[in-house]
Structure formats: structure tokens, C-alpha cells
């Protein structure tokens, strides 16, 4: 099995983002996608704290504490970029004005349900941020995550056992082993990235898998 590492996973997502898209990259692994966006495509990055047209991280020493992304990391602004307040920023999200958002997840169900904000542990302090707004707002919601937990359990499941972030909102799942499309409760193997084969992937997931894309 030739799994992709986290940078390769991010690069795989970046390849599918079309010219001219407005994109929000979630905190954590999805943020890495920005490092692999093809330089010949004009892609506008939105961050929910109130900026569109984000550029790369600033040079060391050039950080501005007033210019950060949703992960509270210092960023830069490209020519053409803009700032706005929170109600406008979430109107962009909730109002369906973003083309793509890429989110991390604990679990995704075959129906496209997303669980990524809370483990449900009694001792855990819940924090949701903008995850629920992104999940239901963007035109396409992609998830980027490892397919299996450390214990080897599939995170692509029949039904999420963790508390939900959004219902039937994820349309595509990028993992270290394969790319899946989710449509009408069915899972399509869009791309077998690691050469595992559909039979083995189906065994790992334990949910029916169809060949091909949902396009």
C-alpha cells in the first residue's frame, strides 16, 4: 500500500481547484492546500475572519498581528484582496458565494454527513467556530482526511457516530488512499491513489463502493 503523505494529499486537492474559484480552506491539513495551488491559475482564498484574496505566509519578521487567517496564523494580502466584517464574511459563506471549501473531518458518512467539531467526550470542551457555516454554505464541500484512524477504523462510514457538523453536505472526499465522490447515499471510487484496489478499499470501509465518479 503506497499511501500519500499529508503534503501529497494537499497537492492532490489543489490540482482539482479550477481557475477563478473562490475557496475557503479549513484549519489544519486543508490549510496546506494553499501551498500547492497551481501558479498559473487565479484562485481567490477566503478566510472567515474577514479577508478574501489571501496570499502566502509573510517573510519572517514581516508578520502583521492585524492580518491573520481563521487559524490565527499571519498571512498576506494579494493585489485585489479585500477586508470585511464578520456578518459580511458569513453572508458570503451561508449565501452560497464560495465555490469550494475544504474541511478536515473526524467522520464522513456515505450520505455526505460531516462530523468535525466535537468528539462528544464528556470531558471535551466543545468549539465549533465557522465549521457549520462552511459545511452548509459553499457550493462544493470537500473533505481532506486520512481514510483510517490510527486503530485502522474507516472514517468514511455508513452513519456518523460523532456529533454532526452538517447534514448531507460533503460531495467529495480526498484521502491518503483514494478520492471518493458521495452522491445520493452512494460512494463512488473516483481515483485509487495508492493502488489498493476497489475490493480492498471496500473491505476497509465496510460500505458498498461503486467504481467511477458521480459526475
Amino acid at each position: 500500500m503506497n499511501r500519500l503523505n499529508r503534503d501529497q494529499m494537499a497537492a492532490r486537492v489543489a490540482r482539482d481547484i479550477p481557475e477563478g474559484s473562490v475557496v475557503n480552506l479549513g484549519i489544519g491539513l486543508p490549510t496546506k492546500v494553499a501551498n500547492y495551488l497551481p501558479p498559473d491559475r487565479e484562485i481567490m482564498l477566503h478566510s472567515e475572519n474577514g479577508v478574501i484574496g489571501m496570499g502566502p505566509a509573510p517573510a519572517p519578521g514581516a508578520e502583521d498581528p492585524d492580518l491573520i487567517n481563521a487559524g490565527k496564523q499571519p498571512v498576506t494580502l494579494l493585489p485585489g484582496g479585500a477586508y470585511f466584517h464578520h456578518a459580511d464574511s458569513f453572508a458570503m459563506m451561508r449565501g452560497g458565494h464560495l465555490d469550494i471549501c475544504v474541511l478536515g473531518a473526524f467522520q464522513v458518512s456515505r450520505h455526505g454527513d460531516l462530523a468535525n467539531w466535537h468528539t462528544g467526550d464528556a470531558d471535551a470542551i466543545p468549539a465549533v467556530g465557522g465549521a457549520m457555516d462552511l459545511a452548509i454554505g459553499a457550493k462544493s464541500v470537500y473533505v481532506l482526511m486520512e481514510l483510517l484512524t490510527r486503530e485502522g477504523q474507516s472514517k468514511l462510514v455508513d452513519r456518523c457516530t460523532y456529533p454532526l457538523t452538517g447534514v448531507a453536505c460533503v460531495s467529495r472526499l480526498y484521502t491518503d488512499l483514494a478520492v471518493f465522490d458521495l452522491k445520493d447515499g452512494r460512494i463512488f471510487l473516483r481515483e485509487d491513489l495508492a493502488g489498493v484496489g476497489i475490493a480492498e478499499l471496500q473491505r476497509l470501509i465496510g460500505v458498498d463502493l461503486a467504481a467511477g465518479s458521480a459526475d
Binding site: 477586508y83 451561508r94 465549521a131 457549520m132 454554505g137
Partner: protein
């Protein structure tokens, strides 16, 4: 209400002044629940806050909140960030409630009215008013007109509209007419006090 997203836009001097002033039993609306040991975290640590309404309390440096929460010494109302922003906006705009698709089908929708509109489910959310808003902007004039700096704008403009008394700390206060009217983000009628604290 206290503006800011993390440290960007946090009105640190106003929070310090609130700490000094001594008000207790506060209900705080902020995106987070304090970072590190200063600002909002210091207010929490001093035991002044009864309840916090926020979207993202747990962070790498939210140890003050975490300890209070685990000890049952602070109440938490967790609101998705966009619903939080829209509830604040609604309060300022005189809206009595609104239906939002965010959080439908999740634990954060429990107990809320669900309305099916045009093929989609929405939940009812109510406006969020405040007695005071403490916000940070870049520059102000005597009428309270405000301009902000970069992503430090975040909650400032909507919190100013949703409070009875909006207090803005700014780097400097300029003469009337010096702020470009086309660039003013918060018109002065939403702001009751401005305090110049100097650039940092």
C-alpha cells in the same frame, strides 16, 4: 460584547480598564474565550464573568477558560460563528429573529424551532443585544466615525450596532473631515465613546 478574533481587534486597553473598574457577574459575547493570560483571559481569571457566549472557546492557549469550565465556574453558550455574527447584526438592525440553515440537524440546533422554507430546513435564531460593546478600531473622529485595520475589523462594526453604549479604542482621534467619508466603515451614530490609546 468584546470585539476581536483571537488577538486581532481585541480592545486590550478597554478590557484592562473594565478589570480595574470592577464590574462583576458579566455576560460576555466574544468569538473566543480568552487567549493566554491577558485581555479577556485576565477578566475570566479574576472571576468577573458569569457566562460567555462564543463560537470557539477551546484553543491551544485557552487554559484560563478551560480550567473555569471544567470546574463548573463559568456558563458557556456555544454558537456557530456565522449565527453569532448574524444574531449580533440582527440586534443592531432591529430584526426580531431569523431562520438560518447553519447547524440544522446538529446538536447545536436542539430545542430550536425548525422551519421548512422552499425545500430547505432552517432553524430560528434570536438577536443578541448588549448593554456595552468594547471594540477596537484604527482611527476615529469626534463624531465616532470609525475606520479599522485589516482583519482586526472582524466583529467591531456589528457589535457597535448591537449595543446600547459602544466604546471604541483607537490609535488616534482625528479632526472631523479628516477621515475619508467613502472609507468610513462604522458611521458615528453607532458609537457613543471613543478613547485614543496610541498606536502599539
Amino acid at each position: 460584547m468584546i470585539g476581536g478574533f483571537g488577538l486581532a481587534g481585541q480592545p486590550t486597553e478597554l478590557i484592562d480598564a473594565l478589570l480595574e473598574q470592577g464590574a462583576r457577574d458579566l455576560v460576555i459575547v466574544n468569538n473566543n474565550a480568552g487567549n493566554g493570560e491577558t485581555g479577556l483571559a485576565a477578566l475570566l481569571k479574576a472571576g468577573r464573568v458569569r457566562k460567555i457566549i462564543c463560537s470557539f472557546p477551546r484553543q491551544a492557549d485557552s487554559q484560563v477558560f478551560d480550567a473555569l469550565y471544567r470546574a463548573g465556574k463559568i456558563e458557556l453558550e456555544l454558537v456557530p460563528q456565522g449565527n453569532l455574527a448574524e444574531r449580533i447584526r440582527a440586534a443592531g438592525a432591529g430584526i426580531g429573529g431569523f431562520y438560518t440553515p447553519t447547524a440544522v440537524g446538529t446538536p447545536l440546533a436542539e430545542g430550536k424551532e425548525v422551519r421548512h422554507i422552499d425545500g430547505r430546513d432552517y432553524i430560528l435564531e434570536y438577536p443578541l443585544h448588549a448593554d456595552y460593546a468594547l471594540i477596537k478600531a484604527s482611527r476615529a473622529d469626534r463624531w465616532g466615525n470609525l475606520v479599522y485595520r485589516k482583519t482586526a475589523r472582524n466583529f467591531g462594526p456589528i457589535m457597535a450596532t448591537a449595543s446600547r453604549v459602544a466604546v471604541a479604542q483607537v490609535d488616534d482621534i482625528v479632526e472631523l473631515g479628516e477621515l475619508d467619508p467613502e472609507a468610513i466603515v462604522t458611521p458615528g451614530l453607532f458609537v457613543q465613546r471613543v478613547v485614543a490609546v496610541g498606536a502599539r
